[in-house]
């Protein structure tokens, strides 16, 4: 029993990390109707920025993260304006835009290696080491902290989407771009804001992934596995639902952990298998995800 609890806590901690990245995917999907395959690599780049601000510029870890989120916001907005918008949008040319995000994936990865090399970097510690005992199992400060950050992020996003004019405009643009623009919403600015926000939250997701990951540090590939989990989380929860991203992330984290611990042949080498299996099952059984809205097509 205490073993099970232990695995559960581990899984929740990891799941919270996947949820933060899944939230970025969901925000871009909700405002633009697009899947951003470069989301993980953007988060990786942001994590290098955080590391640079901390290690090389001497900022405190949290300040370095804040600075990185601000810069990432600008970079995200820039990418939308300069690389995405000229190519088209989800309605007119979805394939071209998806291909651009895949190109971005490769380009950002190469850029990070060119700037920072391939030697792993130690991420700035944002949570203290150690753990607390709960019902005979231990839960690390890292996991607790990640869950707390996730909770704050969800509340802030909920406020943004439901209580502010910008959030209302983002939802309007996602649902009906033309009518929103006719209502006076500057659609271009809203799209840039959506990409910027997703990139800034990606910086957060990247640092949480790095600090919860390998003790050796992170290199330019560390977000690629996390992106798969985030896709699984967003698919499970529903790509248009922030709540779904969070619940999906936690479920994916726990399921992946329990499968690796209890099913003998999965273990470490096949760790990603449950995530893929989950994506497939959800797409077959409930394509819109747990919390997503089913697409209604009027004919």
């Amino acid at each position: 029993m205490s073993n099970f609890l232990q695995y559960l806590f581990l899984g929740l901690g990891k799941g919270a990390v996947y949820a933060t990245l899944a939230l970025s995917l969901v925000i871009i999907f909700r405002t633009t109707g697009l899947l951003n395959f470069a989301q993980g690599e953007m988060a990786m780049f942001s994590t290098y920025l955080t590391w640079m601000f901390w290690e090389q510029w001497g900022l405190s870890p949290w300040l370095a993260l804040a600075a990185s989120m601000v810069v990432s916001f600008g970079l995200g907005a820039f990418i939308e304006r300069v690389l995405i918008r000229p190519v088209g949008n989800a309605a007119s040319n979805p394939l071209a835009v998806v291909i651009v995000t895949i190109g971005l994936f490769l380009a950002i990865n190469a850029l990070a290696q060119w700037i920072w090399g391939t030697t792993p970097k130690r991420p700035p510690p944002i949570f203290p080491n150690g753990s607390v005992e709960v019902l005979g199992a231990s839960i690390s400060y890292q996991s607790l902290g990640t869950l707390a950050v996730l909770a704050v992020e969800v509340v802030l996003l909920w406020v943004l989407f439901t209580k502010t004019k910008v959030g209302l405009a983002m939802r309007g643009v996602a649902s009906n771009t033309e009518s929103s623009s006719l209502a006076g919403v500057p659609v271009g600015l809203i799209l840039m804001f959506g990409w910027g926000l997703a990139a800034a939250l990606g910086a957060l997701a990247g640092l949480l992934t790095a600090t919860g990951g390998s003790v050796a540090g992170f290199d330019s590939t560390f977000m690629q596995v996390a992106l798969i989990y985030a896709f699984a989380a967003a698919t499970l929860g529903g790509f248009d639902s922030p709540v779904g991203a969070v619940v999906g992330g936690l479920i994916v984290g726990v399921v992946a952990e329990l499968c690796a611990d209890y099913i003998p042949f999965i273990g470490e080498p096949l760790r990603l298998f449950p995530a893929f299996a989950l994506i497939l099952i959800v797409l077959l059984v409930r394509p819109q995800g747990l919390f997503g809205k089913a697409q209604v097509r009027r004919v």
Binding site: R171, G172, S175, E178, S181, L182, A183, G184, V185, K293
Partner: protein
């Protein structure tokens, strides 16, 4: 019969005292296809003007050009806002959200509501360009004008009937406090009784708020009932114009658009 009656409708230009929107030589199209071939027309302040025409004549294109949804050639100017302003403002090259700020609201054909948002959120989004504190009380007054919207304020707009959604689209457009509303086929897909009620409401709104309206409509009978003047559009050009009464009495217009 007066002298004016002897002049063919096509050659007549009606003097409008208080011009709000002036359009000269409007040309627009989609890609290589030119749809509008030089339209000249005006809408007076507080006036209801209807554009009649068959499918494909260019009615929707006209409205889309005016609200900045598509690029267009030709001058169009709107009288400056505010009491002191007398200078006309050119509308050329402006994006839809800038035109909303200048006072033009467009209710597009068929799907003017944002279906995933609630009724209340649609109305709030309609006030996106406003900075004043009266948005909430304005929403309440729309609920009085359209009680159905009040009953369904927390429901997704997409869950309502076509007529209710059209009322919402119109209220949403008027939330921006426009001086000119462009209405594209407001009766499309609505039952005759609903259409009749809709036009009565439009007439009321025009009388009480003084908002000018440019209406594109297949249902010419009802549209001419609330309109002061009208233009007939054929193959991208204006072929006739006159007061609502003149158009109703014109033999050719009656046969082509009124169906009797």
């Amino acid at each position: 019969m007066t002298a004016a009656g002897d002049v063919p409708l096509a050659a007549r230009s009606v003097a409008v005292a208080d011009v709000l929107l002036r359009v000269t030589g409007l040309e627009a199209g989609y890609g290589p296809v030119q749809v509008l071939r030089g339209l000249d027309f005006v809408v007076g302040a507080g006036e209801v003007v209807v554009i009649l025409g068959a499918n494909g004549a260019g009615k929707t294109t006209t409205l889309r050009a005016l609200s900045g949804m598509i690029d267009a050639k030709g001058e169009r100017t709107l009288r400056g806002a505010g009491d002191g302003a007398t200078e006309d403002v050119s509308l050329k090259g402006r994006r839809p959200e800038q035109l909303v700020k200048l006072g033009i609201a467009h209710v597009p054909q068929g799907r003017g509501t944002i279906t995933d948002l609630t009724v209340e959120e649609n109305l709030r989004l309609g006030a996106f360009t406003r900075r004043d504190k009266e948005v909430t009380s304005d929403i309440a007054s729309w609920y009085e004008i359209f009680p159905r919207l009040g009953e369904r304020q927390d429901q997704a707009a997409g869950s309502m009937s076509g007529g209710e959604q059209q009322m919402l689209a119109i209220a949403r457009a008027l939330m921006s406090k426009p001086r000119l509303v462009l209405l594209d086929e407001p009766s499309l897909g609505l039952a005759p009784l609903v259409t009749k009620e809709l036009f009565e409401r439009l007439g009321e709104i025009n009388r009480t708020t003084g908002t000018a309206m440019l209406i594109v409509e297949q249902n010419a009978n009802l549209a001419l009932r609330i309109a002061a003047r009208g233009y007939v559009l054929e193959a991208g050009g204006i072929v006739a114009q006159g007061t609502a009464a003149e158009l109703r009495d014109d033999e050719a217009v009656r046969q082509a658009y009124l169906g009797y």
